[in-house]
């Protein structure tokens, strides 16, 4: 299916390019070294190269990578009778499970805050709104506390990398940056956004999709465990019984 699709997509891409107008090249083009990250049994993290070119205007490149949106629950432990217990919790509905930013210069120097806020560029500009379990917004102080805990833990897990390596440029036209995906990278569809910024204004942008999915054996096991749970349970049990029986047989004294 994917084999069939890609030439089709390439044709659409060409059409889109030619639709830009006679000879007027797009201000920025970008692509990935790999559009599909396959999580196989031996997966222990990977890199994806984001690369592209700009027209000959001077400017900065900003890249934003957003993972699939998922609801995150942050829990806070409190000491109760000498024991640490999960007490307070905050919910962050539909926030990116992975988020990375890179730029040719510090973000503050490249873009005004309003534009960053509007496009959610930079972790501090991400709209991360905390609610309680019934969906009401949390107070200012609690909200800030849970938000910074969320960002810190995500960063420690390598899922909100602080800088995905600065974007490096060549001859002011070619650029590249390496995207680090840790072993725990969330599965789903990602978008890689590349902005070409001149004097604080976005003069060109390109969005490329990236898919992270389990393939082969681990995907099969996961699907089996989630979607055919009863048969999976039977198989797991049968396997264990057989293994135990075989062991007793082999080691019979």
């Amino acid at each position: 299916m994917r084999k069939l699709l890609s030439p089709l997509l390439a044709c659409l891409g060409l059409l889109a390019l030619s639709g830009d107008g006679a000879g007027a090249a797009r201000p920025v083009v970008a692509d990935l070294s790999n559009h599909l990250v396959a999580i196989t049994t031996g997966f222990s993290g990977t890199h994806v190269l984001v690369f592209g070119a700009t027209d000959d205007r001077k400017g900065d490149i900003v890249m934003v990578v957003r993972g699939p949106r998922e609801t995150h629950v942050v829990r806070e432990k409190v000491r109760v009778a000498g024991v640490w217990v999960n007490r307070n919790a905050a919910e962050f509905p539909a926030i990116p499970a992975y988020y990375a930013v890179a730029a040719t210069a510090p973000l503050n120097a490249v873009m005004p805050w309003e534009i960053r806020k509007r496009h959610g560029i930079g972790v501090e500009a991400l709209p991360l709104a905390a609610t309680d379990s019934s969906g009401r917004a949390l107070g200012e102080e609690a909200s800030r506390r849970f938000r910074s805990a969320l960002v810190r833990i995500k960063q420690q897990a390598g899922l909100y990398p602080e800088a995905l390596g600065l974007v490096s440029t060549l001859e002011n036209r070619l650029f590249r940056a390496e995207l680090d995906l840790p072993a725990t990278v969330p599965v789903g569809s990602y978008s890689v956004e590349v902005y070409f910024v001149q004097e604080g204004q976005v003069i060109g942008a390109e969005i490329t999709p990236l898919f992270v999915s389990k393939t082969g054996f681990s995907a099969d096991v996961y699907d089996f465990a989630m979607y055919s749970a009863a048969r999976y349970a039977f198989a797991s049990i049968l396997f264990a019984v057989f293994a135990g029986w075989a062991a007793a047989l082999v080691f019979r004294r």
């Binding site: 031996g42 609801t71 999960n86 810190r152 833990i153 681990s218 995907a219 049990i237 135990g244 080691f251």
Partner: protein, 306 residues
């Protein structure tokens, strides 16, 4: 280092470490004649496996170790099938309740704490009892638990309804007692990811007064059925059984158990019990330390799948 991705736990682990841990736990289970689940689950949690997956996959692994154990005990005629049947009838009910409770605690975010607290409470009481008992018998220079100690020690137990005869164990007790024990242990199986042998074995000796030689075989016999039922419910309700993790654990466990059984034959019963008691108390104090020590980070993040 062989990195292996666990599809259900959604993380990658070093396969050598997991197999080694399976072997270590298998060794202790072969040595002491217990399932070893009470060691395995905390060790998996220490490694960073989500507690829920550690419990589900641990239960699945125990099926394998108890099947191979029970076959050996059947050969020696050390299984009281009737008593096992009554215990497991209670066990089924208990594990059903336990899996539901597990699911509920998982949604309110207290499953981690519950797993740890249950471990602390049960390891401390069982380890303490075993240690006291073995030390006392060591001082008296008498083999422990060889004299029949029945439920006649407990006046209330004799008044319970439905008395039943268990010829293999030479007992005449109310069926309510083993049924109730089954339910209680069944709940633990689901919540703690253990076979429950470390609770069941002392309970059979001290509460029911069963002869020691049939205790382990009978306990293993009922553990098979209870862990089969629990694995089924965990896999279908909580989706926390990781086949790859189980496979690695079983591979290590099988080898370790044989090695442990051989070592056990050389050490002798009473010393073994003291060692086991110390081991149980050691794991327990490790968990207590984790519960009361100020956590490195009081916050934790979980992704909720809709």
């Amino acid at each position: 280092m062989i990195q292996m991705y666990l599809p259900v736990a959604e993380m990658s682990v070093d396969a050598v470490v997991i197999v080694g841990m399976g072997a270590l736990v298998g060794f202790t289970s072969g040595l002491f004649g217990v399932g070893g689940g009470f060691l395995l689950t905390p060790l998996l949690i220490f490694l960073g496996i989500p507690p829920s997956v550690a419990v589900g996959s641990g239960t699945n692994q125990i099926i394998a170790s108890s099947v191979s154990g029970v076959i050996a005990h059947f050969r020696r005629g050390n299984v009281d099938v009737k008593m096992g049947g009554v215990l497991l009838a209670g066990g089924m009910v208990g594990s059903g309740l336990g899996v539901l409770l597990f699911n509920l605690l998982k949604t309110v975010g207290q499953i981690d704490l519950t797993i740890r607290l249950s471990y602390v409470i049960f390891l401390a009481s069982v380890g303490g009892l075993m240690l006291v008992e073995s030390v006392v018998s060591l001082i008296r220079r008498r083999p422990a638990a060889s004299k029949p100690r029945g439920p006649d020690n407990f006046a209330w137990a004799a008044r319970l309804p439905w008395p039943m005869r268990f010829p293999k164990s030479g007992l005449y007790v109310s069926a309510v007692l083993p049924l109730g024990m089954g339910v209680a242990v069944g709940i633990l199986v689901a919540i703690m990811g253990v076979g429950g042998g470390f609770i069941m074995v002392p309970a059979m000796i001290y509460l029911l007064g069963m002869p020691t030689q049939v205790v382990i075989g009978t306990s293993l016999f009922q553990i098979i059925f209870v862990t089969v039922a629990t694995t089924f419910m965990q896999a279908t309700l909580n989706h926390n059984v990781d086949a790859v993790l189980t496979l690695l654990l079983i591979a290590g466990g099988i080898v370790g158990a044989q090695w442990g059984a051989r070592a056990g034959a050389r050490i002798g019963g009473r010393n073994l019990r003291i060692l086991l008691a110390l081991l149980v108390l050691g794991v327990c104090s490790g968990l207590v330390g984790e519960l009361i020590a100020t956590p490195e980070d009081p916050y934790s993040v979980v992704v909720v799948r809709s």
